[in-house]
């Protein structure tokens, strides 16, 4: 039980909890206590320190913005207006709050507000569903499309949309990059022929890919029922992120150990068997390393692409909040920032565990 849970924790990248489990099972308390301190408590302390510095910085910025406002009121409207402004700021009135870096407390408040918002929206959705269920059954019987909820999406809905876009983009990247990578990897001349193209296209910015995809999709897809902005954004994500997989796959295929190739030659394997039984398994670790990079790159470019493509998701959430300029917009942007970071981290951890599972060189299988 203990060993099994430790193994699982290690595989999903939560190895820092290992000393805690050993500690609970009473194994070498002093050593594991120390390990728990260095592995789990120190990172926690650093997070606390980060929050403290953030709080101090936010307070300083708030004060300087407040004093600027008061001075401005004094210079433009006289002493009385300055006092009124100061009182207004101190009272916490929404109309005159300095607009600057939100403090941790404000961000947490915004997080709670977003959560409440999500709850109320899902309640509305459920209500709507109840209301239209009878009508929808009728419409289905008549062969019509059911009525769907078209209200504002909640923050969690937008996270879901973003994840869907990334999943579709990564799938597209994998479907394009892995076969091409294998073909390029197999032939030295194809590799030299394609190399310049890859090297030139690899550093192209996501924004340019988006515009390129937009140009093509706009002409190709004329059916208005399709979600064009989603198609554009996931194709752009895929195109931006596929290069790491492409390069890694071709590298993996072209550097398969000569011994394995000799085995294939001595056994006289056919080309298909050679690829599927020798070359592909031998290059799987590198392919998955590439896919891991692809996933993190696609999550990173997704925000920028969604922001520009007007496709729903975290990117457009951030952009809308910035344009909105409401009192808690800044705090909501910071919430989105943390959510983006945490989800990116989790995606990377998932890919790391998959990569570790695929690797036959590291550790005992």
């Amino acid at each position: 039980m203990k060993d099994k849970s430790i193994k699982t924790l290690r595989m999903i990248g939560l190895g820092f909890l290992e000393p805690l489990i050993r500690l609970f099972s009473g194994e070498e308390p002093s050593k594991n206590g120390k390990l728990f301190f260095t592995k789990a408590l120190l990172p926690l302390l650093s997070i606390i320190l980060f929050v403290v510095i953030w709080h101090a910085g936010a307070t300083a910025l708030y004060n300087s913005e407040a004093s600027v406002r008061i001075e401005k009121a004094r210079a433009e409207q006289g002493e009385e207006a300055a006092i009124a402004m100061q009182e207004c700021i101190e009272s916490g009135d929404v109309s005159c709050q300095p607009n600057t870096l939100p403090s941790p407390k404000q961000v947490f408040g915004a997080f709670q507000a977003l959560w409440q918002d999500h709850k109320s929206i899902s309640e509305k959705k459920a209500e709507f569903k109840d209301k239209v269920s009878a009508t929808n059954e009728q419409r289905e019987a008549q062969g019509l499309d059911p009525i769907t909820y078209t209200g504002r999406p909640s923050f969690l809905d937008q996270i879901g949309t973003s994840l869907k876009t990334v999943a579709a983009g990564c799938l597209l990247a994998m479907l394009i990059a892995v076969p091409i990578g294998i073909i390029i990897g197999l032939s030295e001349s194809l590799r030299t022929a394609m190399n310049w193209l890859i090297q030139i296209l690899k550093p192209v910015s996501p924004v340019v890919w988006l515009l390129l995809v937009f140009m093509i999709v706009k002409t190709v897809i004329t059916d208005p029922s399709l979600d064009k902005s989603f198609i554009i954004s996931f194709i752009s994500v895929g195109l931006c992120a596929m290069w790491a997989t492409l390069v890694n796959t071709s590298l993996g295929v072209s550097t398969v150990d000569k011994d394995y190739i000799n085995v294939a030659k001595v056994l006289k394997l056919s080309i298909g068997q050679n690829i599927f039984k020798i070359i592909l398994p031998a290059s799987l670790p590198l392919i998955f390393t590439g896919l891991r990079i692809t996933v993190s790159v696609s999550w990173m470019v997704l925000i920028a692409i969604e922001l520009l493509a007007q496709s729903p998701g975290l990117g457009s959430f951030v952009w809308e909040e910035f344009q909105n300029g409401a009192n808690d917009s800044n705090a909501k942007i910071i919430v989105a920032m943390f959510v983006i970071g945490i989800i990116g981290f989790l995606l990377d951890r998932i890919m790391l565990s998959v990569q570790n599972m695929m690797s036959f060189n590291k550790g005992m299988a």
Binding site: D259, Y260, N262, V263, K265, V266, L267, K268, L269, Q273, K277, I278, P281, A282, L284, F360, N361, M364, A365
Partner: protein
């Protein structure tokens, strides 16, 4: 009748000034059912020779004939045991052998195939480890898998490229005996490449030394007269064994020595005198008396 024939075979790598003539003028006849050992210094082109026979390389000059036909490439009729095992690390012992069996006997029924694979795994005493990955096995066990894989292909000829040289002395001894035991069951033609004269004497019917490269060629053959099965401890005390061993070693030393003498290029070092720091005077700059130099 000679099953394998090498006639005036030469092989070189590279072009121009970087060209290295590895093998030159190799003539060899291997009879059906005999166990031949080729001994030589490391780097003398032994692996190149075995690669010419298994078809991974082709000769520049001369011909390699298998049953009178020139070799066109590698094939499962010649089972190869590589020096570095060459097992596929993502497959278990069983699957590694199965890969070879699938290829050589595609029409065999599933149960026959399984029995066939298990028979060869049993032959090398690896039945308890048949589901393990190569990573989990010791060097000796890995080489046994390699032996099982080569034998399971039921080859007409077994080519061994220094199969035991990466192993420790004790494992090597026991594997030597095992390979001989397995070989003596159906007496296939076997060629063993080795750098160990004792190993050659213990295992082979005939020993042919390979002179050190470049331009390595085969020396005179030595026949090993001992009856099989050979007992290591008994042979070790045998006078005839000592003489044979000394003859082969002497020959190898001799060719090694002459090879060393052939290079008469002399390297002359320039006559340089050490210069003390601080005494160097650039241009017309005056040497200052006030500064102390060491």
């Amino acid at each position: 009748m000679a099953i394998l024939e090498l006639n005036n075979v030469s092989k070189s790598f590279g072009v121009g000034s970087s060209r290295i003539d590895v093998l030159s003028d190799i003539n060899l006849k291997v009879n059906e059912g005999e166990f031949l050992a080729i001994v030589g210094f490391s780097g003398s082109g032994k692996t190149t020779l075995i690669n010419l026979i298994n078809g991974l390389l082709f000769p520049d000059k001369g011909e390699v004939l298998l049953k009178g036909q020139p070799i066109t490439g590698p094939g499962p009729d010649r089972g190869v045991i590589f020096q570095n095992y060459s097992l596929l690390p993502w497959l278990s012992v069983y699957s590694n052998v199965k890969l070879a069996v699938d290829e050589v006997f595609p029409k065999m029924s599933k149960s026959d195939k399984e029995a066939h694979i298990l028979k060869y795994i049993e032959m090398v005493n690896l039945t308890p480890a048949k589901d393990k990955k190569p990573k989990e096995l010791s060097g000796g066990m890995r080489q046994r898998v390699s032996v099982a894989r080569a034998l399971a292909m039921n080859p007409e000829m077994l080519l061994m490229d220094e199969p035991l040289s990466a192993l420790d002395a004790l494992t090597r001894g026991s594997l030597q005996e095992e390979i001989i035991k397995i070989w003596s069951q159906d007496k296939k033609t076997a060629i063993l490449i080795t750098n160990d004269v004792d190993e050659g004497i213990l295992m082979a019917d005939r020993i042919i030394p390979l002179t050190p490269g470049p331009k390595a060629t085969l020396g005179p053959e030595f026949t090993v007269p001992f009856e099989r099965p050979r007992d290591v401890t008994a042979i070790n005390k045998d006078e005839q064994y000592k003489r044979l061993r000394n003859d082969i070693l002497e020959y190898l030393m001799e060719v090694g020595a002459t090879r060393r003498q052939t290079s008469d290029h002399k390297y002359i070092l320039p006559d340089l005198q050490p210069v003390m720091p601080g005494r160097i005077v650039f241009g017309k700059k005056k040497y200052s008396e006030s500064v102390k130099h060491f």
